[in-house]
Symmetry: C2
Subunit: 206 residues, 2 copies
DNA sequence: ACTCCTTAGATAGTTCTACTCTCCAATATT
DNA sequence: AATATTGGAGAGTAGAACTATCTAAGGAGT
């Protein structure tokens, strides 16, 4: 099964032919190899790419233009670190345009990163998400303390170590793709488990 | 500042008057107390509610109809556990309609919950999210092992205990609202910290 | 060679979400 | 009395993600 036509690509990916054409137009799927003016053949890579696109939209909840940027990052990345960094740079927060964080929140985030021994440009999007979320929690009169941030960090440190260590492949291309999957598609697992844990803890406390 | 008119509610919440009217129509904001045929007065609760709505859309990334369902859960909940359970029941996955999970994935989730000593109806939405995500990861040829699930559970257990323990208020109403905030609005904090941790671990490994 | 079917490529239309605008009559305010 | 604001209802709009239609060019079977 080295190559296939559009109809089979649609069948293998579970998407309709018009949807795949739309993804081609939007630059989410590289064009097939043209075998004439009205024919192009696709291969296994195209099937994988389409499945990844759907995972990033349906499971990770990304918008298509974000998916496109993340995929461009995959295609251009030279290492695991590049790929993850590139993906994170393009992510920001799930919702709408983020207002700039307050100075106080930015300072708290800087102190937090310092406490954890983590280096990160202060202009990194995830630092901005952190600071902005702290602001929103303050506005909701539900401020979170530095102890919670440190607890989150303590919880995520071994998780991150395991996840990064799990992707030790010689194949750079698939390793880079695995980085994005491991970061974005596994997020719902972590959140679902947190929710389940919360429900069980709260039940056990009456 | 016991009560205010629409114009001031708009100013205090940062939303436009038409948007607030829209939220009233959609049942996201309870109506003010009418003081005549063309006048209604709003209070501090309305300001808080509007801020919560924006936090749930902008920060937690929920859609408005999901927000409405979650808020209805708050208004009807009798306990922390009820509120969180109700919110989780209405959440499902971030993206589109979820296909039913495979039998194998459902079995793995059941075994996982059993290993962790967690009780949860097999029909609980978060269990379905878990199973469905496992299926998607398999389809992406990026299967995750039970060890990762157990690692996530070990990481989330102390987090959940701290979070649930942090909400010990005598005021039931604000406690129930705090449950939803603590669950949903704090999610971006956890995810951002995971991403930052991943980047630092991967940098430290070269 | 002839007919039928599929495809690439382009354009236009649809559905859904979350607003945003416009009106109107009924008040408040000045 | 003149002006401004509000509640309520309906229509209109912008963006995202498809979906449908059309055309011309191949290719497949006979």
């Amino acid at each position: 099964m080295l190559s296939m036509w559009m109809a089979e690509l649609a069948a293998r990916s579970g998407l309709s032919v018009p949807t795949i054409k739309y993804y081609l137009r939007e630059g989410l799927l590289p064009p097939g190899t043209a075998t004439g003016a009205t024919r192009a053949s696709y291969d296994e890579e195209h099937v994988r790419r389409l499945r990844l696109v759907r995972a990033l939209t349906d499971v990770a909840g990304l918008r298509l233009d974000t998916v496109r940027q993340v995929l461009e990052g995959i295609d251009g990345a030279g290492s695991w670190h590049d790929a993850v960094g590139s993906a994170h740079t393009r992510l920001g927060s799930p919702g709408a345009a983020t207002a700039p964080p307050s100075e106080g929140a930015a300072d708290r985030v800087a102190a937090f990163l310092d406490r954890q021994g983590w280096e990160l440009g202060a202009d990194h999007p995830q630092a901005a998400v952190l600071a902005r979320t702290l602001d929103v929690l303050d506005e909701l009169e539900h401020p979170v303390g530095d102890d919670l941030l440190d607890l989150y960090a303590a919880a995520m440190r071994p998780v991150a170590e395991h996840e990064v260590g799990a992707v030790r492949s010689d194949d750079l291309e698939s390793s880079v793709e695995a980085a994005v999957i491991g970061t974005l598609v596994q997020e719902p697992l972590l959140l679902a488990i947190r929710r389940i844990a919360q429900e069980n803890v709260s039940r056990s406390l009456g």
